[in-house]
């Protein structure tokens, strides 16, 4: 490679790196700065340095513990649902299926629906306690219909978000399955392995890495679920569906408490970074190969 090419390479790379650097550093720096101030937009000009007070306030606020709990339940449940169902559906679609392409289109479709649409369609058309389809199905079987957003609001959100992310898990696991060497599976069968043991010893280890990738990427996005909560429950009733992302939003743009919201923002950044650390390592290992 000539010196000229190398110089050109640097030149072409610079705009992207510079923009991303500014995009990362400036807001992050401001968040850190604001998090050390008592700063409410309703009292402009009253900013005052308070050190770590906002962090103490944010982390000891009962709302934080509630929202942390909700965040973990939401992320954990959606992961469990999408990984288990996603694996099963991927295995199913990997069989000989007549019209597989059409089935695959139907399975993937929810991923392309914008979050505000899926949330409102589920909330109204499906989960409405009187006129929703689920209520109709329940009463047809002689069961009492569930008032989803009053009685189990967090579960309702979990179902909506799981429906949105199931296609992602399924599609990635299916892609991974299809790259599993047919010979490997045949060899296992030749050795007398049954369907179950060939699944446990051949297929599952092959899926370990894609499953890890799905878990990490979904976690990054699930930690900041926002629109689904914004249009259905607004975080309520009470704090029942407030996750960390929604709590920070509420403190920033409803209570105008810039200091506390910024401290919360930093907490969210730290949590996301723990997940990102592992994801970046896995992807980095793949770059070498």
């Amino acid at each position: 490679m000539t010196e000229q090419t190398r110089a050109l390479g640097r030149l072409l790379l610079t705009p992207a790196v510079a923009l991303l650097f500014v995009w990362m550093i400036v807001p992050l720096g401001m968040t850190i700065y604001f998090s050390s101030l008592r700063y409410n937009l309703l009292n402009p000009g009253m900013e005052q340095f308070v050190g770590l007070e906002n962090y103490t306030y944010f982390l000891t606020d009962p709302a934080f513990l509630a929202s942390l709990h909700n965040t973990l339940v939401l992320v954990g449940s959606v992961l469990a649902i999408t990984i288990v169902l996603g694996t099963l559906i991927a295995l199913l679609l990997d069989q000989v299926v007549v019209g597989r392409n059409i089935v695959r289109l139907m399975v993937i479709a929810p991923f392309f629906v914008m979050p505000t649409v899926s949330a409102l369609v589920w909330k109204n058309l499906l989960m409405h306690p009187v006129s929703g389809l689920l209520a109709f199905i329940a009463t047809s079987f002689g069961l009492a219909p569930i008032d989803w957003f009053a009685d189990m609001p967090l579960l309702a959100i979990i179902l909506i978000v799981a429906w949105q992310w199931l296609p992602f898990a399924t599609l990635i696991l299916l892609t991974a399955l299809q790259s599993l060497d047919e010979e490997q599976r045949e060899a296992a069968e030749m050795d007398g392995a049954g369907a179950l043991s060939s699944f446990i010893y051949v297929t599952l280890p092959h899926l370990a890495r894609p499953i890890t990738v799905v878990i990490l990427i979904e976690t990054i996005f699930l930690l900041t679920v926002f629109a689904e909560i914004f249009v259905t429950t607004g975080g309520g009733p009470g704090l029942a569906t407030t996750n960390i992302a929604f709590l920070i939003y509420a403190q920033a743009l409803i209570q105008y408490d810039v200091g506390s919201a910024s401290a919360g923002g930093m907490v969210a950044v730290v949590i996301a970074n723990i997940v990102a650390f592992f994801l970046v390592r896995i992807v980095g290992r793949n770059l070498e190969a």
């Binding site: 069989q95 629109a227 249009v231 770059l287």
Partner: protein
């Protein structure tokens, strides 16, 4: 056997979308009635007419097109040279640069909501198309660079060397050799990014209200408790997701590559 099971599963997963599309052709009364009618109702187009006429649907759809298209095009203009550089003129730091770019995508948007909101307020960017384009472009830039990089990486280097031997300059090489081979990758990246930007619902909900509001925000306005207009909600939603559903179906393969940063192929 597996065919039947697969079709049942596919149908169940797709059903909410189907149900919404059906509801969009019902009258408000039928959309709300119990027992619900599945196919034998009075099919009507009145919801589409109302959505069109009364709620300024076109205005928000145009916003969506401008924001998704604009942010994608600008991101591509910045990302293509960068990805080219990392794929064909790599340095010792290329891998670190790539991983660093990935890590910027891991930053939760809510962590920088306050400063972005305040900056936008100061500079008059709230509820402007330019403001939305800027934030979506920067937010998706890492994914765009990554996807392009994985595609460019697959172009055999020998071809470039042959071109260089023949005395092609870097500029000619870029235009006549590389670009034709890169077109499929660029097209896939473009497609996926338009989908992501079209459906983005954190920044659009927080930074726009009416003038610049894209369809995500417009649909959210149906969430008010008094507004139980299911048929109209369904019609507006169907219109909002239809184009992207079609694009999405074309780009399933790229979806895997783009969203896993090449970790699963």
């Amino acid at each position: 056997m597996s065919t039947a099971a697969a079709w049942v599963v596919g149908f169940v997963i797709f059903f909410p979308i189907l149900w919404m599309i059906l509801a969009s052709f019902k009258t408000e009364l039928e959309a709300f009635s119990i027992p619900p009618s599945f196919l034998f109702f009075h099919w009507t187009l009145e919801n589409y007419e109302t959505v069109q006429g009364r709620s300024d649907y076109i205005h928000h759809a145009v916003n969506s097109i401008i924001v998704a298209g604009g942010s994608t095009l600008i991101a591509m203009l910045i990302a293509i040279p960068a990805a080219w550089s990392m794929a064909f003129a790599p340095s010792k730091r290329t891998k670190d640069t790539l991983l660093w770019m990935l890590s910027t995508k891991m930053m939760p948007p809510v962590g920088v909501l306050v400063p972005i909101y305040l900056l936008y307020r100061t500079f008059g960017l709230l509820d402007t198309l330019g403001g939305l384009i800027l934030v979506l472009c920067l937010g998706n830039l890492p994914i765009v660079v990554w996807m392009l990089f994985t595609y460019f990486k697959e172009i055999p280097k020998d071809i470039l060397e042959a071109a260089r031997m023949d005395g092609a300059t870097v500029g000619r090489e870029l235009v006549y050799v590389l670009t034709p081979m890169a077109v499929p990758g660029i097209a896939s990246t473009l497609l996926l990014n338009v989908i992501l930007a079209w459906n983005e619902a954190f920044w659009t909900l927080n930074l726009s209200t009416s003038d610049a509001a894209p369809l995500t925000v417009f649909i959210a306005s149906y969430s008010s408790p008094e507004g139980l207009f299911w048929a109209k909600l369904s019609a507006a939603s169907t219109l909002a997701i239809a184009p992207i559903l079609v694009l999405g179906w074309f780009s399933q393969r790229q979806l895997v590559r783009g969203l896993t940063f090449g970790a699963v192929k």
